[in-house]
Amino acid sequence: MKVVVCCKRVPPTDARIKVASDGSGIDEEGVQFVLNPYDEFAVEEAVKLKEAGKAEEVIVVGVGPADTAAVLKNALAMGADRAVLVKDDAGYRDPLSIARALADAIGAEEGVGLVLCGRQSVDQQSLAVGPMLATIAGMGCVMDVVKVEVGDGTASVHREAEGRSEDIEVKLPAVLTAQRGLNEPRYAKLKEILKAKKKPFAEREFDFGEPRATIEKLSPPPERQAGKIVGDGPGAVPELVKLLRDEAKVL
């Protein structure tokens, strides 16, 4: 079977985010985009499946502007076989539209047994594209997966949920979203990075139609009032409790 991994380009998690002055998006000047950290888990898992002889081919697919190519090439350097970029220059794209574009690209492939996504993108953090894609493609979907074993026509997975964990058996083809803990993504070696440059890289178009949702404005986080240092050491505790009770009214 083939394994598809959905890869998004995002600002690094420790990047400073500056909202563009017109509030339409972020100021991308100087931002070094990276492969979404959760998508790294997904790529790693796919490459491992290939190494274990469970997958024939690993295809990475990304929707985004031209420079998404760089993170797709990262994924190729990690061991994926080829990449597909669905070009999209919209600054903001809603989760269903991204899922539709991905489903369209995946639909063009034959013999896809597994689609791996990250649990969330660290920019839009919708936690939505994976399950939406699965629903559109008519596949099963298990989210927040920390362990995967591919069997014959099914996969056994372990997932983390709120206050519980679950063992799930899902029929293939299926979409799984990767949670931290699934694996330790490898660093690409220089040799692999060079090799990745020669791997097949295709571009696709998708007709997104009218926007389904728009960003009216992007704002910096609301300012918190400057906090107060109540004091030093355990001596400050009575005053703190008094403030929490009488001023903050949270006790």
Binding site: L127, M132, E162, V170, T214, G227, P234, R245
Partner: protein, 330 residues
């Protein structure tokens, strides 16, 4: 507009409706109120929910729809998603609200995609107009920016971060209606083989009203007992920084932050946590933040409402004592 109709998925855990679902129900009432009329439909799914569905009436839904097939024990995203989508198809609401717990985050996108509409997840505020059209605010880039989003699709599907909007009781004379799914357990693409549930009555981290959180400053897993005791005193749930989780001192499920849980409790108390940007991403929407750190320059003090500079091993026991005293005094 009188044809404003908000459908609210009401989540059940351990035989009780989640507080976040009651918040969503209350928000739905506000949306309908602003639209000058319309209706709120509460939906509950799963074996046994019929027994408790009546509790929802206190929050004012016009109708309560229950789907409780005996084969649906516990949460199954695919089954729950298909059932809610079926109900939504026949009800044709203008909006669907879900609480953004982990199950809610799992469910809502499946429902939206089945209806062919998009979604805005984990919203911290909702505004609506006289036509029941929503404008939602959601933190993005790990809380480093807030996006105000307008959804063009109908229904407008939104998940709401727990603890973001108030619960309000309201008059409601709703009768409980029962529906059956069009499919059975055998039609599902996935089955839950085993569930390992945490044996606790504590509120889940994402929904807890109070959180006590520990960082590397605790120096070892054995010292978390002092935080447990503090948490016990004020009915809080214990969380942790990633450094602590990576060190294996606490389970991954306890991690707060960008790559852990997002929380918005009324009170967050952080001990021996430096306040890295990725940690702040998970807790900066808390209403009141208290930090205890021996380093006066620790970045967490910039995010905190109140801070104590000092050794947590001295401050935590003193705080627990003081809070016990406060409770004894009533």
């Amino acid at each position: 507009m009188a044809d404003t109709k908000v459908l609210v998925f009401c989540e059940v855990q351990r035989g009780r409706f989640k507080k976040g679902s009651l918040e969503a129900l209350s928000e739905a009432k506000r949306i309908v109120g602003k639209a000058g009329g319309g209706s709120v439909v509460a939906v509950a799914v799963g074996n046994g929910v019929g027994d408790i569905a009546g509790e929802l009436k206190a929050y004012g839904p016009d109708r309560v729809i229950v789907c409780a097939p005996d084969w649906l024990e516990g949460y199954n995203g695919e089954a729950h998603g298909r059932i809610v989508a079926e109900i939504a198809k026949s009800e044709a609401p203008t909006a669907i609200l879900v609480t953004a717990t982990l199950d809610g985050k799992d469910l809502a996108p499946r429902v939206a995609a089945a209806l062919g509409v998009t979604i805005a997840t984990d919203c911290t505020a909702i505004d609506s107009d006289g036509d029941g059209r929503l404008s939602v605010v959601r933190p993005v880039y790990a809380g480093k920016a807030y996006a105000t989003i307008k959804i063009a699709d109908t229904p407008q599907v939104v998940s709401l971060r727990p603890n973001s909007v108030p619960v309000a009781e309201a008059e409601g004379a709703a009768a409980v209606e029962t529906v059956e799914p069009s499919f059975g357990a055998g039609d599902l693409r996935y089955t839950v083989k085993a569930v390992n549930a945490a044996k606790t009555e504590k509120a889940d981290l994402t929904e807890a009203d109070r959180v006590v959180s520990g960082g590397r400053g605790l120096k070892g897993p054995e010292h978390f007992s002092i935080l447990e005791e503090l948490a016990e005193t004020i009915g809080a749930t214990v969380g942790a920084s990633r450094a602590v989780v990576d060190a294996g001192w606490r389970p991954h499920a306890d991690q707060i932050g960008q790559t852990g849980k997002t929380i918005a409790p009324t009170l967050y108390l952080g001990f021996g946590i430096s306040g890295a940007i990725q940690h702040l991403a998970g807790m900066s929407t808390s209403k009141c933040i208290v930090a205890v750190n021996k380093d006066p320059e620790a970045p967490i003090f910039k995010a905190a409402d109140y801070g104590i500079v000092g050794d947590l091993f001295e401050v935590v026991p003193a705080l627990t004592e003081e809070l016990k005293k406060l409770q004894a005094d009533g």
